[in-house]
Amino acid sequence: MTGSALDGQLGGRKPVISDGGITVWLREDGIMHVKLPENAAIAGRHAAAAAETVRVVAAGNRYPLLLDVAQVKSVSRNARRVYGHPDTVTAYALLGSGPVDRVLSHYFLGAGPPHVPAQFFESEDQAVQWLGAYVEGS
């Protein structure tokens, strides 16, 4: 999806589904929510498309990001590398359920950009609460 096509969908903070089925939306509470599709194998190109969507949605601002990896099948090494950029993200919370998500998430955390706070959560409420501290201007 091109940047201009994306721009057209973002007026009312509606969820945007980027290439590979990754859903991106900016929540009312100022958190960027990214949901990986369940049972999907996420490749580098999917992650790159999602990162571009996040950049366009952020529109030059920085947001805390909630990355929902629950039930995802696998995430490639290249996909983990396209994990976000400190220019657009203030903190990462990885959300999953069960031991497989936990293992995957920790690989994400290991590959994440330095100097950006990141943590794994199994509860969305706790993740949102933790991310709340990183909403700029809050």
Partner: protein, 537 residues
């Protein structure tokens, strides 16, 4: 949760996967089950770790390949630097020797190499007169011309300074000589350096290996031949022969002996009278150095001055000459009725003029020997005065300020430019004997000599003719108003004891002053008294 009739094989798969990873199959992956339980988490972790391991290994391989390439590049560059002369980009001595050793080792298969060694004949003068930047440019142009004179398989190297060597692969001596001649011609073409057109000449030595000669031997042979080429008047190329080596060895022995000659009191000064031709009065002597060699007898300066320059013995020798000559002058001043104009004439070489210490040495010795600076005249060649650099000018001006007399020596053999006579800071000119011509030509030379003397007088300089050998010449000079004469007719060079009252007396009764009395024997008294002095100066 898996059904009971489907046994869970995931642990067995994990074990198998670990074995494969251990065997190096890093692409091994284990399928996850929909259960997403802890075992699936281990499987996910296994897959992720295997992926990381494969990626790390691939990155490592790329990095090792890149770094190895960089290291090899750096090594090649370092090797090239270690083997290359940075100024000319030619090979250096070490590289040349390696190439030569390799050629010598394969002579049976590839043919014998020839070695050419050359150096530039007047490179020091270029450096001194135009500066080291110009000297470097000359070396680069020479390097280019050398490269252009040989084949691709030949090796051209700069050994240091203005010395170059070439290894010609599979080249017999006749062919090597042709290449050497071609190189001499190539270098003789004028080159433009800093808006100055220069011509460089070189002497080339050629050597061909005998059995068991090493690279070092061959370079030494070529060097010996080059030295012979430099000494030869009619050839710029010489091929090595064993007899040259013995000449060189003799020269090395002589050099070692020369270093000790002063401390062994083997150096002596002889003095040749300078006579006022109008009156016969002794108005000076020229101090002439001789080497009383313990085995080879009395050696003339032609036999050792170049060597002394080469081995750096000249400064000490110049100081010794000044001390000895001025010491002698002091004794004569105290014991002989010398003419008030009597001067001690001492030769100073171009290289001595470049020594910053020269001025201090002259001043110190004048004071030490209690000599008035006006009683010392330093004789310099035209060449050293005309081509002088800043140091030489400094020395000349300083000597003038001291009050020391300066005279152009051997006028008529070098530049002989009339304009220099007017501009150089000198008091007198010593005319070379070649201007007098053959002793049989005295009459025909007369108008020419009259004109030269007129020219010198018009520049307000005194004229001394050297090489006066006959009564006719002395008579003619007296008639033409020449100030002074020097030569065998008056007296050969004599030891210090030969400058005595009897000589002064003899000169005053000189026959050339009496018209009509002809004599070709001159003042034979002095000639007979010192028979050991050879005929040539």
């Amino acid at each position: 949760m898996r059904a009971v009739d489907h046994p869970d094989t995931r642990l067995a798969q994990l074990v198998e996967g670990i074995v494969k990873i251990a065997d190096g199959e890093l692409s091994t992956r284990i399928p996850a089950s929909p259960a997403r339980d802890e075992l699936d988490a281990v499987i996910a972790g296994f897959n992720l770790m295997a992926g990381e391991l494969a990626a790390a290994q691939a990155e490592l391989e790329v990095r090792v390949t890149t770094r190895t390439g960089m290291l090899m590049d750096a090594l090649r560059k370092m090797e090239l630097m270690a083997l290359t002369d940075p100024l000319t980009q030619l090979r250096n001595r070490s590289a040349l020797e390696t190439v030569l050793e390799s050629s010598l080792a394969t002579t049976a298969v590839n043919g014998a190499p020839a070695v050419l060694l050359l150096d530039l004949d007047s490179f020091k003068e270029i450096n001194d007169s135009l500066g080291h930047g110009a000297g470097d440019t000359v070396l680069q142009i020479v390097a280019e011309r050398l490269r252009g004179s040989v084949r691709k398989q030949d090796t051209v190297a700069r050994l240091g300074g203005d010395e170059f060597a070439i290894v010609l692969q599979d080249t017999p001596v006749e062919r090597a000589r042709v290449v050497a001649t071609r190189i001499v011609s190539a270098l003789a073409h004028p080159m433009r350096v800093e808006d100055t057109s220069l011509t460089v000449s070189a002497s080339v030595g050629v050597a061909i290996p005998k059995q068991d000669d090493s690279a070092v031997d061959l370079v030494l042979y070529a060097d010996t031949a080059m030295y012979a080429a430099k000494k030869a008047a009619n050839s710029k190329v010489a091929v090595f022969s064993p007899s040259l080596l013995s000449t060189r060895q003799m020269r090395s022995t002589l050099a070692a002996e020369l270093r000790n000659a002063i401390s062994n009191h083997e150096m002596v000064l002889h003095y040749q009278p300078i006579v006022e031709v109008a009156t016969g009065r002794l108005i000076g002597v020229e101090a002439l150095i001789r080497w009383q060699h313990p085995q080879r007898g009395l050696l003339m300066p032609d036999n050792f001055i170049d060597l002394a320059e080469e081995i750096g013995a000249m400064p000490a020798m110049a100081v010794w000459v000044l001390e000895t000559a001025l010491g002698c002058l002091r004794r004569w001043q105290q014991t002989l009725p010398l003419d008030p104009r009597f001067t001690m004439r001492v030769n100073i070489s171009a290289t001595q003029l470049q020594r910053p210490e020269l001025l201090d040495d002259v001043q110190r010795i004048l004071i030490m020997k209690d000599i008035d600076p006006r009683d010392l005249v330093l004789e310099l060649t035209e060449y050293s005065m005309v081509t002088g650099n800043e140091w030489e000018l400094y020395s000349l001006r300083g000597l003038r300020q001291l009050g020391v007399g300066l005279s152009i020596d051997d006028f008529g053999t070098g530049y002989s430019s009339i304009s220099y006579l007017r501009t150089l800071p000198v008091d007198g000119v010593k005319l070379d004997k070649s201007l007098l011509g053959d002793t049989s030509e005295t009459a025909t030379q007369r108008p020419f000599i009259a004109a030269v003397l007129q020219l010198i007088r018009s520049c307000k300089l005194s004229a001394t003719f050297e090489g006066v050998e006959t009564w006719e010449q002395a008579r003619m000079l007296a008639e033409l108003g020449c100030d002074a004469g020097q030569g065998y007719y008056f007296s050969r060079p004599v030891p210090a004891s030969g400058i005595n009252a009897a000589l002064l007396e003899d000169l005053l009764t000189a026959p050339w002053r009496t018209p009509g009395i002809s004599s070709t024997t001159g003042l034979t008294l002095n000639v007979a008294a010192y028979p050991e002095e050879p005929v040539s100066r």
